[in-house]
């Protein structure tokens, strides 16, 4: 039998294992970001090796690591610069005016020159020279005050004051202001304050350090700690090895110190910047590493102790409650640290309060690394103190933990020591929620971690931003639109961690959902409705809160509010839809279940909607609402298609035309049209022809590409599905019928259009719009009119009907009643037309859809559209 490993070896092994775990998890995430499609050719039954790190992902991880490091250095540098400047500004015991070094040099030069000119009074161009130098003086002062945030009159006053001081005392009335440029991401020694002010600076830094270490400690114990709340504690496994418990705990402390990302990406950059600015320059690299390890040791040792203590003292569900509290504390502290380091007010506050804190407070174990930067000889004692504290804490924790587990690792004798409940509770409380919604609510309030993550963190985030950023609160109070956008943002954020995860949280319980006589899609839908309710509640509460603050509410405020709340509702379904489609139900590891790029897609879409809240026109808002609603519908159609195949590793649902395809086609059509117009702009064609050709080109491309894509995917009976050909089972003479229907519906639509054109005269807003349109028409030259007519009667019906009826209508029709499909496709169709013609175009859309549904061939709606356009164009142009 080989000898059991020594303590050092155990420490090394555990640390390496922890690093390997982190690397696997990170590279897994990065691999996930790249498309993991179902591969129909890959046999899944054969056990494939979990993807190892390839050289590419090592590089990628190094890159990501470097980015984090740079970010840390950036933030710390800015913080130190700002703080240092603030301390330098401090109490002005020196009465001389502070200027930059360059300015002082100019002042000396000017002084010398003016003295020389004084001496040579009678020289010919003396006056001109004096003038020149005085101008130079003024320019120097102007340059000096260039960056100050003063307005014109204040600046003038300061400049004259300086000129007067110069006239009185010469350059002696000025001193160099020690000032580092703010906003640069690199550390600099300029930021370090003068001798007298260093202790104050160190005090402030010590305070930040303490907060950072505590925040890291709490966050590492909080919801990120997967192990703490699990039934099988990883310690139990470690205890099966022939290694004394003391060594295991020491090794754990070592592991948490060394293999902790926070140590390297938070503490190390911070200490590096600090010590560099203090004058250690490149010696600060090893020095910062030591300080970072020390801080990491503090957090790591405390973590080991707390983990052991909690597991020994409390039952598992209580431990999870503690975790929730830790998450909250950790996030709060983290926000405080970020806020303190990025705000001017906090720096000023530090300068004010620091003198009142006794110097001895800096010697507390959390802050003592700050003293390493003390140039007055306290550095060596500080280093000694760090060693002492480190050893004492590590040793103390190890012995304490060993004592805690002296009688075994766990507290309960048997896992199933329960009590039979006194009376069978039939129904506790009337109207208790049943089924899936009841289960969700129960789990939400039991799992405090989840509760905090989903419902409390968004509030913290918004609240913190409002608090730290005083300008934000003012703006929100001033314009209700900002409040609406903020409320929407809050709702969307809540949704990201709740509705988005609707499928992935079911990970282990998914098998149970498959045994119920309910479709999985329906179950997920009910869950989404629940989260929609929560998010809307948050949005409405936020709006009410802001409305109380803001006295001036008008009609546009109402529309903004409605837009925000309805948007949150729609986005609940968009979030759930994207989340479900992006979840890999077969993936067991929680980190890799959701494709991260889909989360970014959701955030992008939500921000686009938020942007739409700001658009001034009611029309654009309505358009955005309708489009978002259709997007939600399209996503759920895809969800419905995909849920029967969720647990199948290779099979995809049978390909069919979906609403999503239609919406993409509409989008592509417009984008291509725009691009084509830009391209054709450089040609010699007349503008009307350009319009026509761009339209035709875009339409052709979209049509051909969509047909090709459908054909590739194997959509059955493609031409009939789209309406280009009669269906197999259609009765004979369908072409004739299509013509009949097309003409009939076209006549109805055209009649309505004509009626509308004349009826517009009776309504003022419409009349105004019509006048505008007519003026535009008169401006057009007849050539363009001709091209436009061709476009309207020949090209537009062809391509627009393919897209809106063939794709959008057919996509909708598959999943909903004919009425809704007609209205939906007509709605989208109407939206893309200018406001003047929305109503008749909507009617046209309805008519075209009806003719399409009745005849099954695109010929019918094309005829309808062509007829309508012909009539309207003729009426307009004559």
């Amino acid at each position: 039998m080989p000898n059991p490993p020594g303590a050092l070896r155990v420490m090394w092994l555990l640390a390496c294992t922890a690093v390997r775990k982190i690397a696997n998890r990170t590279s897994g995430n990065l691999n996930k970001a790249f498309n993991k499609r179902k591969k129909p050719d890959a046999p899944p039954e054969k056990r494939q090796a979990t993807p190892r790190k390839k050289a590419v992902s090592v590089l990628l991880m190094l890159f990501v690591g470097a980015m984090f490091m740079f970010n840390g250095v950036n933030l710390s540098s800015q913080f130190v610069r700002r703080l240092g400047n603030e301390f330098n500004r401090g109490e002005e015991t020196d009465k001389r005016i502070a200027v930059r070094a360059w300015t002082l040099r100019q002042l000396h030069k000017t002084e010398g020159a003016l003295k020389a000119l004084d001496a040579s009074e009678g020289a010919p161009d003396n006056l001109a020279q004096v003038e020149k130098w005085r101008k130079h003086l003024r320019e120097s002062f102007e340059y000096d005050l260039r960056e100050s945030r003063l307005d014109g009159s204040e600046r003038e006053a300061m400049i004259s004051e300086r000129i007067q001081t110069f006239d009185r005392t010469g350059a002696a009335g000025f001193r160099v202001e020690k000032r580092a440029m703010e906003g640069l991401p690199v550390p600099t020694t300029d930021a370090w304050p003068d001798r007298e002010r260093v202790p104050g600076m160190l005090m402030a830094l010590g305070a930040i350090m303490a907060l950072m270490v505590l925040s890291v400690l709490f966050m590492s114990l909080g919801s990120g700690n997967q192990d703490l709340g699990k039934v099988e504690w990883s310690m139990e496994w470690l205890f099966t090895f022939p290694v004394p418990s003391r060594v295991i705990f020491l090794a754990k402390v070592f592991e948490y110190t060394l293999a902790n990302p926070f140590t390297w990406f938070l503490f190390f950059p911070f200490f590096f910047v600090l010590q560099f600015s203090a004058g250690f320059l490149w010696w600060s690299v090893p020095l910062a590493a030591c300080a970072a390890l020390y801080a990491g040791l503090l957090a790591g040792a405390a973590r080991v102790f707390l983990e052991t203590f909690l597991r020994k003292t409390f039952a598992l569900n209580r431990v999870k409650n503690f975790q929730a509290v830790f998450t909250l504390l950790g996030i709060l502290l983290f926000f405080v640290v970020i806020g303190a380091s990025s705000s001017q007010r906090a720096a000023a506050f530090a300068v004010r309060t620091v003198p009142e804190v006794p110097a001895a407070a800096l010697w507390n174990p959390l802050s003592v690394p700050a003293l390493l930067c003390d140039g007055a000889g306290l550095a060596w004692p500080a280093a000694g103190a760090m060693l002492l504290y480190g050893a004492a804490l590590a040793g103390g924790v190890v012995y304490a933990c060993e004592w805690l587990v002296r009688d075994g690792l766990t507290i309960t004798a048997g896992v199933y020591a329960g009590k039979r409940s006194a009376a069978t509770p039939v129904e506790r409380g009337a109207g208790r929620m049943r089924g899936i919604v009841g289960k969700e609510l129960r789990l939400l309030f039991r799992d405090r971690n989840f509760l905090v993550q989903t419902l409390i963190v968004p509030l913290l985030l918004i609240g913190f931003n409002l608090f730290m950023n005083s300008g934000l609160m003012e703006q929100v109070g001033a314009h209700f639109r900002h409040a609406a956008a903020l409320a929407f943002g809050l709702g969307a954020y809540v949704l990201m961690f709740s509705a988005f995860q609707v499928l992935s949280v079911e990970s282990s319980g998914l098998w149970m959902l498959y045994t119920f006589p309910r479709s999985l899609e329906r179950i997920l839908f009910e869950k989404t409705v629940l989260w929609c309710g929560f998010a809307m509640l948050y949005a409405v509460s936020a709006l009410l809160g802001f409305a109380l603050v803001n006295p001036a509410l008008d009609a546009s405020a109402i529309s903004d509010a409605v837009m925000a709340v309805v948007g949150v509702g729609i986005y609940a379904f968009i979030a759930a839809g994207i989340g479900i489609l992006a979840t890999d139900a077969l993936e067991t590891e929680a980190q890799r279940k959701i494709r991260p790029d889909m989360m970014y897609l959701y955030m992008l879409l939500a921000s686009l909607y938020g942007f739409a809240i700001y658009s001034p026109s009611l029309w654009a808002k309505l358009a955005q609402l309708v489009l978002s609603g259709l997007l939600a519908f399209a996503l759920w159609q895809k969800v419905r298609d995909h849920t029967p195949y969720l647990l199948d590793p290779t099979q995809e649902p049978p390909p069919r035309i979906a609403l999503a395809d239609g919406l993409i086609a509409v989008l592509a059509f417009f984008v291509l049209q725009g691009l084509a117009m830009i391209g054709l702009h450089f040609s010699d064609l007349p503008p009307g022809a350009q319009l026509l050709f761009a339209f035709v080109l875009a339409g052709l491309l979209v049509a051909l590409f969509t047909l090709y894509a459908f054909w590739r995917h194997g959509v059955p009976d493609l031409l009939a599905a789209v309406g280009l050909r009669a269906a197999q089972d259609a009765p004979a003479g369908s072409y004739l019928r299509a013509v009949k229907w097309g003409l009939v519906c076209g006549t109805c639509a055209a009649l309505f259009g004509a009626f509308y054109l004349y009826g517009m005269e009776w309504f003022e807003p419409l009349r105004a719009l019509k006048r505008e349109a007519l003026a535009l028409d008169k401006g057009m030259d007849p050539g363009v009119k001709g091209w436009f007519a061709i476009l309207a009667v020949c090209a537009a019906p062809l391509f627009e009907e393919y897209i809106f009826r063939g794709l959008v209508f057919r996509g909708l029709r598959r999943s909903t009643t004919p009425l809704l499909a007609v209205l939906g496709s007509a709605g989208v169709f109407a939206l893309i037309h200018p406001p003047l013609s929305v109503v008749p175009v909507f009617v046209l859309g309805v008519a075209a859809a009806v003719s399409f549904e009745a005849s099954g061939l695109l010929l019918a709606p094309i005829l309808t559209h062509a007829l309508y356009n012909a009539v309207v164009v003729w009426l307009n142009f004559t």
Binding site: R420, G438, L443, W511, R518
Partner: protein, 300 residues
């Protein structure tokens, strides 16, 4: 000890000492369709074939066991029955309903026990039962009425207040079993039902299953415990490498493979060959076959 109606028809000579069911398939009236009808069921993942041309039918009131080594395709077949996977070709029907297309209706008639049941972290045992019952459409009173005797029988009554995640493996299995039978389904599909159960629980499960069958329910389970199959079931299907290697009662299997052999020997003989033995009799319950005295297996 429950009485086996089937056994009453047998003569003494034909009776197997261990399993009275094994000598006789379920006598099925000709016009009643089998509860489970699997025809040509195939599941292919690209080039890899997980299940190929599975043919099987289980009449009502039968206890059917699906035997096979690991990776043989048992779980794939069960998943196709539960509508979790769509077959590449062929069809599976339960009570005349297609398992994939009508899976929601099928679930009303089926109770499923998985091999490794996992439960939600923060729910107690009784809350899980409540949830399952509500999802099947029962109200609280009815759920409690149904669950109580089951909990008593499987000795879980003391543990319902505990979070299910803290249960031992056997207890989780028992809880999942109660969830599966709560709505009194026509067909019970069990995936390795006694895996993780102690001998007492195993015995209780066997008795429970026999009772259900006697009451007219059908039980379909997959296992790799040969003695369990031998003891309990009416018919056995042996799957190997995705194909149905053999199916029938023990008597039929003996007739096909080797006389006087135990199930173990039959199993090894059938699964050691690379090609499956085509089943001599069609894999359907011999309808209307009445037990002929003396026509049972030549030996015990």
């Amino acid at each position: 000890m429950p009485v086996f109606p089937a056994a009453l028809h047998l003569t003494k000579r034909g009776r197997s000492p261990i399993n009275p069911n094994m000598n006789e398939p379920i006598a099925e009236a000709a016009h009643v369709p089998p509860l489970v009808e699997i025809r040509g069921l195939t599941k292919q993942y690209g080039e890899f074939v997980a299940a190929s041309d599975i043919r099987l039918s289980v009449p009502r009131g039968e206890l059917f066991a699906l035997l096979g080594p690991n990776g043989a395709g048992k779980t794939t077949t069960i998943r196709m029955l539960m509508g979790i996977l769509k077959p590449t070709s062929g069809s599976a029907q339960i009570d005349g309903l297609d398992c994939f297309a009508d899976r929601v209706e099928v679930k009303r008639r089926v109770g499923y026990l998985p091999d490794e049941p996992i439960f939600y972290d923060h729910l107690r045992g009784r809350e899980i039962l409540r949830f399952v019952g509500e999802m099947h459409g029962f109200d609280a009173r009815e759920i409690d009425a149904r669950a109580k005797p089951l909990l008593e029988r499987f000795e879980l009554a003391d543990a319902t207040e505990e979070y299910a995640v803290n249960y031992s493996k056997g207890m989780k299995k028992k809880l999942a079993l109660i969830c599966a039978v709560l709505h009194d389904p026509l067909l019970l599909i069990f995936d390795e039902p006694t895996n993780g159960l102690d001998p007492y629980a195993t015995r209780t499960l066997h008795e429970f299953v026999r009772e259900k069958v006697a009451a007219g329910k059908t039980v379909f389970f997959s296992t790799h415990l040969l003695d369990q199959a031998e003891k309990l079931c009416h018919r056995i299907g042996i799957v190997y490498k995705g194909r149905m290697a053999a199916v029938g009662t023990l008597a039929e299997l003996r007739a096909k493979v080797a006389q006087n052999s135990s199930l173990e020997e039959i199993f090894f003989s059938v699964t050691s060959e690379s090609a499956a033995i085509p089943s001599a009799a069609p894999a359907q319950a011999p309808s209307g076959a009445k037990p002929v005295p003396g026509a049972g297996p030549a030996g015990n």
